[in-house]
């Protein structure tokens, strides 16, 4: 006997993701899911962004890590609310983990929540968290050919931050090639070239992110009147 099922393997996660999304929306918080390989500069970008947006937006951070809390400690020293999630070996964050983390964040007191996902270019792309913005980092040493190897994340992100531009010229990273590959896959993606080491390019990124957060707030105000 044939039984029709038609159930998505990620349905359970997506249901919770939608609830998280609603929670963020109702509190006027823009949630950013920040994804990248290990070592691409996620924690560095979070810290730089906190420095640049200090006094402009109220920011909280969720740090996903397989085991340690090193990144969370670094971010905490910036004086912002930080919640650490240890995935216990799991290669990505999922919506239920975010839901639990949200019990420890006062969303009403925040405008922006940055979620540092587990370092991995494959798995995080499959698991929606309820974010309003999907962001990813590619760092120069990883090479400009990564988009074709890890297409889902590059296709689905709304913004790509190319980090470690201070290392351009040391290898064969071709920025024009990267841009054209990514824009062919994802024509609407915003691309920023930055160096978290020298600070180059970061102001443009921070301004752009601030504007996204303000648009989000405006959306909430209009929705409630």
């Amino acid at each position: 006997m044939d039984i029709e099922v038609l159930e998505g393997v990620f349905d359970a996660n997506e249901k919770i993701a939608r609830e998280n999304e609603e929670l963020f929306r109702s509190r006027g918080v823009l949630a950013v899911n920040l994804m990248a390989s290990p070592g691409a500069g996620k924690t560095s970008l979070v810290i730089r962004t906190l420095e640049l947006l200090r006094g402009k937006l109220r920011i909280g951070v969720i740090e996903g890590d397989i085991a340690s809390s090193v990144d969370a400690e670094k971010v905490k020293s910036q004086g912002v609310p930080v919640v650490q999630i240890n995935t216990g070996g799991v290669c990505h964050l999922d919506a239920a983990m975010i839901r639990q983390a949200l019990d420890h964040l006062d969303l009403a007191a925040l405008d922006l929540v940055i979620i540092e996902n587990v370092g991995n270019l494959v798995c995080p792309a499959e698991f929606k968290l309820g974010e309003g913005l999907r962001a990813m980092i590619l760092s120069v040493p990883e090479g400009h050919d990564k988009p074709l190897k890890y297409p889902l994340m590059f296709s689905d992100s709304q913004v790509l931050v190319v980090n470690k531009t201070d290392l351009l010229g040391m290898g064969d990273f071709d920025m024009d090639e990267l841009r054209s590959t990514v824009l062919r896959m994802n024509p609407r993606v915003a691309i920023f070239e930055v160096s978290c080491r020298t600070g180059e390019g970061l102001q443009d990124w921070a301004d752009w992110l601030e504007e996204r957060a303000r648009e989000n707030l405006k959306g909430v105000d209009e929705g409630s009147t």
Binding site: M1, D2, I3, E4, V5, L6, E7, G8, V9, F10, A12, V90, C91, H92, N120, V122, C123, A125, E126, P147, L148, Y150, P151, L152, F154, S155, T181, L183, R184, M185, N186, P187
Partner: protein, 113 residues
């Protein structure tokens, strides 16, 4: 990389529907898998036996139906198969297409007795 968790989700879905339909045994599971997902089917198959051991789904065949990544051009509405993840429309050259399939990952049906 997360194929174990994914296989557990599939088993959960399959076993729930098997129970609802009073299945004695699940013979086959038809799974739609989009090309754009990062899921590697033979890893899922590898975990399947382990995850379904001592259940009514033990020994069930996994049948993966691959779904190609397709896009539709926003300008001329041409549908085309994306190769090398290039969204450039082969008919008019516009790069403004939307991906319309390739992200699927669902249990479509099961065969039970």
């Amino acid at each position: 990389m997360h194929e174990l968790g994914v296989t557990e989700s599939i088993a959960g879905i399959v076993l729930r529907h098997a129970r609802m339909n009073g299945a004695k045994r699940v013979l086959k599971v038809n799974i739609k898998l989009g090309e754009l997902t990062g899921i590697v089917d033979h890893y899922v198959a590898f975990y399947w036996d382990m995850v379904t051991k001592d259940t009514v789904a033990e020994g069930a065949e996994l049948n993966f139906i691959k779904v190609p990544t397709m896009a539709r051009c926003a300008r001329c509405e041409e549908d085309f198969h994306i190769q090398e993840y290039d969204l450039t429309c082969p008919r008019c050259g516009e790069i403004a297409s939307d991906i319309v399939s390739g992200r699927e990952f669902l249990v479509e049906s099961i065969e039970i007795e």
